[in-house]
Amino acid sequence: MQPTEIVAFVYQISDVFAFLVLAAAGLAIIFGMMGIINMAHGEFIAMGGYVTTYSYHAGAPLALAMLIGAVACGLFGVFLERTIVRRFYHRPIDSLVATWGISLIMTQGALLLLGSGAPGVGTPFGSVSFGGASFSVYRLVLVVVAVAVLVGLYLLFMKTRFGRHARATMQNAAMARALGVPVNKIYSITFGLGAALAGLAGGLYAPTMTLSPMMGTSFVIEAFVTVVAGGADILIGTPPAAVALAIIKATATAFYGQVYGVMSLLVAVCLVVRLMPDGFTGWLIRRRS
């Protein structure tokens, strides 16, 4: 392969990697912490996209608008957790139905209040050329942001008191509560964090897509696939899963087109579920011990 092709290939893999990480981060945290499958994940992403776009059109600079979007989703997530989600912590199937109900309410509510679409935000930063192919600079920025999110989560969970409490709660909630960790508050904050990450993903990708109440659905398959492949631990499981799936999807799309790209992702997750039922997390933990 020529150098241009290698660069292009690496760029594509990084692009898909960033998309998978950003789409899955919120879902992985909520699933890893509480065992809850948040079916409203796509709707948090859409909400982040909407808040970002409206903030931007109201005058905020784009980066600030994205932060506003993330924070708004985080607060809304905390609110939802307090009112609805916390009643379902030991009922995984019921939590599926409850969060699906939330997602329906959010989608149709947005449709009723905001209509089917909204004027978008242009993609910032322009493009850069290399050997006959050109690449969007913004998508390289997204790769950097995805890595930053992973690093930030590592620092949060490993180096802060909150992170220690959160990990204790993940391991053994009853024991953590007996030792004085405010477990309910940890759950609220974690759900809010997961929602905020979903909102951030929506805000980051809003400039590259059409805005609509259903825009979350184009993230949901990739997010779920990455979380299934990664397993419950976002720090151990999600990065290798995202890298592996990105390579698979980019290769399939490069040689055979989009149909095979999506198919390859789904075939890959079928294999992962069969060979490594706990995802990369379980596999790496077993290898370590």
Partner: protein, 568 residues
């Protein structure tokens, strides 16, 4: 096995004051226990004193102190329920002091033999006697033969409530414009099935609005042959199975006189077999890939011979002969791609690449790369839906600046209103309607529409088509003097079924039951202004007649494509 390894490495073993050595083994039998206590507190004297590391074998009693000996024993009679869960001990550990942690490792638990009885408290919701019993057997627990399991009524109530709630949420949004006029003439029922939510609702909502506007205008003017129009609409939400379900409902339950349904070709093909089994007229008002030869259907949208045969030769002459196609991966995209291939190759051009894209895909990084690698002269873009239209945002962001052609952008998808300039620069489309049309009748129609729907983002071609189709139906019914399909088709066969739509005059072609259009070929500039390059007063839907479809003679109810022609 693995468990003992865990025990031997646990904190309990590593840090305990017995330093890993096992001490004496004590027993605490029922005789030694004599009396059982039921609370933890300083009220009882210690019975046994052990050292750290010792083992104790304890005879425990079941929760009801062994008073239930047979299934006939009633807990309400034999037990005093507050005095339940008798405790063994107290056992003192020598050397233990406040702030120490006590680790107790349970080695083994054996049920007694003969078995004794107890009650599973979880199975009791209310403190009533004689719920159920669990028999303990050596090595396993047996549920008694006659088992009474009661779940708390609250849970059932909750799930019932959930079901009711779900039913409300998935309810259908049905609305009907009631007939305001005299009740002597029954209303004409118009069935409408267009997405009001979902992947393409942004584009199909104008269809609903256009139909509503037409129905309102016609009703104000006295209706059709004195009968008011009653609009019955459902929202299929981009779900083809809902399209089918609602079609059956409209035909069988609501008994509509005419059906306007479907934007995507997939939904049309889902609905058409159902309508074909009835004698209801079906209007399909979207541009599409053409080829449907079906007596129940009138197609009023643009066709390949009107949109592609005009645009493609011009694009090839202006920009070059190497073409790349991207298309949505369903029947419309596939067949439109087939048409593009046919026309490009006929004119001596070459398809340098083609990619079919599943609906709902929104990330086009690799696709853009593939296009750049193939170095086409121009791109035929047939992407459909909200997610796929992200392509028009991502392509210029990635630096892909290439002339584009389409049959569905601008006029149908109004991307020039949705994306920031210059995303749609150099896009070329041939279509029968766009809102910017510089024509007095068109402008007056736009004004009327925006008076009723001031927040409409754009009046696209399918919106105008939907509006015009209602008037077309009115003309047909008035010509035939009846709403019966057979009478209407006789009028179509005369070739005189024409109306003056906002786009201009449209007439139904007898052979194909599709519509001749005024066509405009437009291009978009860097500021997203729309400029007319060429126009045609009238392009007939000639292709179906050319290949042998003649609905005045017979009714095959088939769809034909360039590669799937009628058998001679």
């Amino acid at each position: 096995m693995g468990y003992n390894r865990w025990v031997s490495q646990s904190i309990m073993k590593r840090r305990r004051s017995a330093a890993g050595k096992t001490g004496k083994t004590h027993t605490l039998t029922e005789e030694q226990q004599t009396e059982f206590y039921f609370t933890i507190g300083p009220y009882s004297k210690p019975l046994l004193s052990v050292n750290p590391g010792d083992r104790i074998v304890v005879d425990t009693r079941d929760a009801l102190s062994g008073r239930i000996k047979t299934e006939a024993d009633k807990p309400s009679e034999k037990t005093r329920l507050l005095f339940a869960h008798p405790q063994n001990g107290p056992i003192i550990i020598e050397g233990a002091a406040p702030d120490d942690a006590l680790a107790v490792h349970i080695e083994e638990m054996l049920p007694p033999y003969p078995p004794s009885f107890g009650i599973d408290r979880n199975k009791i919701c209310h403190p009533t006697p004689e719920r159920d019993h669990i028999v303990l057997d050596r090595g396993s627990a047996l549920l008694a033969q006659r088992l009474l399991i009661r779940f708390c009524h609250v849970a059932i109530g909750r799930s019932k409530m959930t079901i009711r709630l779900c039913a409300l949420l998935t309810g259908i949004a049905a609305f009907a414009l009631s007939a305001a006029q005299a009740a002597d003439k029954p209303p004409l029922k118009i069935g409408l099935l267009e997405d009001q939510s979902g992947e393409i609702a942004l584009f199909t909502l104008p269809k609903v609005h256009g139909t509503q506007l037409a129905v309102e205008e016609i009703n104000k003017a006295g209706g059709i042959m004195g009968r008011q129009l009653e609009l019955i609409a459902y929202d299929p939400q981009f779900d083809n199975s809902k399209f089918q379900e609602f079609t059956r409902r409209l035909l069988d339950k609501d008994k509509v006189d005419v059906l306007f349904a479907g934007a995507t070709s997939a939904s049309r093909e889902a609905v058409r077999p159902i309508v074909d089994n009835s004698d209801v007229l079906y209007f399909y008002t979207n541009q599409y890939e053409g080829g449907v030869c079906d007596g129940n259907m009138i197609g009023t949208g643009g066709l390949p011979e009107q949109q592609f045969s005009t645009l493609i030769p011009w694009m090839m002459e202006k920009y070059g002969k190497k073409v790349y196609i991207i298309a949505a991966d369903y029947n419309f995209g596939q067949i439109s791609a087939e048409w593009t291939r046919k026309l490009v190759v006929e004119k001596g051009g070459e398809i340098v690449g083609q990619e079919l894209i599943p609906l709902g895909v929104s990330q086009f990084g690799q696709t853009i790369q593939n296009i750049q690698k193939a170095k086409p002269d121009w791109l035929m873009s047939l992407v459909v839906g909200n997610s796929q239209s992200s392509f028009y945002e991502q392509a210029p962001a990635a630096g892909l600046k290439i002339p584009m052609g389409s049959s569905i952008t601008i006029g149908l998808g109004f991307e020039h209103k949705r994306f920031k300039p210059p995303a749609m620069e150099n896009m070329h489309v041939a279509m029968n309607w766009f809102e910017e049309l510089d024509d007095p009748k068109a402008k007056e129609f736009v004004a009327r529409w925006r008076a009723k729907f001031p927040n409409e983002t754009y009046i696209n071609d399918m919106g105008q088509n939907a509006y015009a189709a209602v008037y077309l139906y009115k003309k047909l019914v008035e010509m035939a003097g009846s709403t019966k399909l057979g009478d209407i088709r006789k009028q179509i066969a005369t070739g005189k079924a024409c109306i003056d739509a906002p786009e201009g005059q449209v007439c139904i072609d007898p052979k194909s039951q599709h519509v001749a259009h005024r066509m405009w070929q437009i291009s978009v500039d860097a500021a997203h202004n729309v400029k007319t390059e060429r126009s045609w007063d009238r392009i007939e839907p000639y292709w179906l007649g050319q290949i042998g479809c003649d609905l005045t003679k017979d009714d095959p109810k088939e769809q034909y494509t360039p590669s799937s022609l009628p058998k001679k």
